[in-house]
């Protein structure tokens, strides 16, 4: 196995970026990430991006954003219609194949041009579920109802998760929802979509992020304390909600096992749980001990949920903390699909 590390990260998240196109706001992020380690596009062995035409409302929308990388002369490049975390996975596999020691990865999305809750309905099965246009938040609320009535979680626990996110987000300049609230204040909120309160829902954001990966000695040259990817794995639950147990996350558990997340002490975890219920399920599936692991010190996806970037941002946030020495071992998680259908777990370590 070739040692691969996250060596650079840049992000931007705002409630709505209305004045700039995707490529216009991504170009400065791409430049910032590459420049922070003194690289240019011609230094990159591979480039991979994650975005969604369904969010952009345009076919092949990712092609216009590739222009921002400066793909002349032609570059080795790929795209996933997924969160950028899956683009990072593809880049990691590419580096494992040998022959290159750097890769550039980015993910971005704008939720503001359309109704993201309708857009997400289109990812359901196209025959029986999608034609009903199930509101994506309502589906999460149904799962939350199952969890509450089955005794898997309490409303108080969900409010504690929401309060923790807000507390973490207070020091994160990229957070969209960062005003602190106590558990009691959150429990006093009216239901937004019963049984979920406004603080249980993700703060939708527009934005993106860019990451540089480097292998072995190249990573040590570029970064004083590289965030080494010690394990990475992604798994998927069934597409059909009716055949799944929505009160746990089998695929997250499996991904965590294969990524080697269990065992040693984990200093911090950045989890892509857009809802308080998803964060609760993930803590259980990844076997995290909240007394010894700082969970979502950035505020997580509750504080800013940028479609197609939020998972990659979790990896970037975890890596940044390792560079700074805030921790030695971190777990980053990315999710996709309804009710945590797809999960990726990435274990990062500093030397």
């Amino acid at each position: 196995m070739i040692d691969v590390a996250v060596v650079a990260f840049a992000q931007r998240q705002e409630a709505a970026i209305s004045g700039e196109s995707e490529v216009e706001f991504m170009v400065p992020l791409m430049e910032q990430a590459k420049a922070s380690v003194g690289l240019t596009q011609s230094d990159m062995g591979f480039t991979c991006s994650g975005s969604s035409d369904f969010l952009a409302g345009q076919a092949f929308s990712f092609v216009m954003t590739i222009d921002g990388t400066g793909p002349v002369p032609p570059i080795s490049e790929s795209h996933v219609e997924q969160d950028g975390a899956w683009a990072l996975y593809e880049a990691w596999v590419k580096i494992q194949c040998g022959g290159i020691d750097t890769a550039f990865v980015y993910g971005y999305g704008k939720s503001s041009p359309g109704s993201v809750r309708d857009v997400l309905a289109t990812q359901m099965d196209p025959y029986y579920v999608c034609p009903l246009w199930p509101d994506s938040y309502a589906i999460e609320a149904l799962a939350a109802r199952l969890m509450l009535e089955g005794g898997h979680v309490s409303e108080n626990r969900l409010a504690e998760i929401a309060a923790r996110s807000r507390a973490g987000a207070a020091s994160n300049p990229h957070a969209v929802r960062s005003e602190p609230k106590s558990v009691a204040e959150i429990l006093a909120e009216d239901y937004a979509i019963d049984p979920l309160r406004p603080s249980d829902l993700p703060a939708e954001a527009d934005g993106g992020c860019a990451v540089v990966l480097a292998a072995g000695d190249r990573a040590r040259e570029l970064c004083e304390r590289p965030a080494w990817i010690r394990g990475i794995d992604h798994r998927s639950d069934a597409h059909t909600l009716g055949v799944r147990d929505l009160t746990s996350s089998a695929s997250a558990r499996l991904a965590a096992h294969h990524a080697g997340a269990a065992g040693d002490k984990i200093d911090l975890a950045e989890l892509h749980g857009p809802f308080t219920t998803s964060e609760h399920l993930l803590i259980d599936a990844l076997g995290l001990n909240e007394d010894s692991t700082a969970v979502n010190p950035s505020g997580g996806a509750l504080a800013a949920n940028t479609m197609m970037a939020s998972g990659l941002i979790r990896i970037g946030e975890a890596a940044s903390r390792i560079w700074r020495g805030d921790g030695d071992r971190a777990v980053a998680h990315a999710a996709s699909g309804p009710c945590l259908q797809q999960n990726m777990v990435c274990v990062l370590e500093g030397d």
């Binding site: 700039e20 490529v23 170009v27 400065p28 222009d67 400066g70 002349v72 359309g114 109704s115 999608c130």
Partner: protein, 199 residues
């Protein structure tokens, strides 16, 4: 031979329960079976074109064509996307272009397109390089029989009447021949390409 033993021999045979005839409840007696459903998908977006295209579209309302220059290579892109693919950097300098240019490549369409009754075949769509631009963009060649269109032919924009102008590229109805001598194109390999060096 019972159906069960047939299934035991052939793993692809339908289970007995599925091969049994379906019995409808009385309330559905005589109902027409559903054989297919149509489930249209429609989503509404509020598209924002971004900084560079917004400038371009606003200029269109005044019958002006705005491109943007790449600071690194000097190339001028139109319509501008706010970025130079050659440099991988933002373009910032707006460049006003003439509404004249030449046909770099073209196509004659002889079949109608559904929902575009305004495009009556045969018509000629062309890749038009504006004077001062480094890349071409798509337009219709009008006021000439499609068979007479040729590579290198000089054209000028035909604009909508002033009172109908909008912030839209549709303000250009098409491109008509100017009657000037054709551009001489010696390097056909170059057509459709943008070189990564100053022109």
């Amino acid at each position: 031979m019972s159906p069960d033993s047939a299934a035991a021999r052939d793993p692809l045979a339908a289970p007995a329960a599925l091969s049994a005839p379906v019995t409808l409840p009385g309330a559905l007696a005589g109902a027409e079976p559903v054989e297919s459903v149509c489930t249209p998908i429609r989503m509404t977006y509020t598209y924002t074109p971004g900084r560079a295209l917004s400038r371009y579209l606003r200029a269109m309302a005044g019958k002006r064509i705005l491109g943007e220059r790449c600071g690194a290579t000097g190339q001028v892109f139109v319509p501008p996307r706010g970025v130079s693919p050659l440099a991988g950097a933002a373009t910032s300098e707006a460049v006003e272009l003439a509404d004249t240019g030449y046909v770099e490549s073209f196509n004659i369409t002889r079949v109608p397109i559904e929902r575009r009754p305004d495009l009556e075949p045969p018509y000629c769509s062309a890749w038009i390089v504006l004077d001062g631009a480094s890349v071409g963009f798509l337009g219709l060649v009008i006021d000439i029989a499609p068979e007479e269109v040729r590579i290198g032919m000089r054209v000028r924009a035909v604009w909508k009447p002033d009172e109908e102008l909008e912030t839209s590229a549709a303000n250009i109805l098409g491109w008509a021949p100017t009657g000037e001598p054709d551009e001489v194109i010696t390097d056909y390999e170059r057509i459709g390409r943008v070189e990564a060096s100053d022109r």
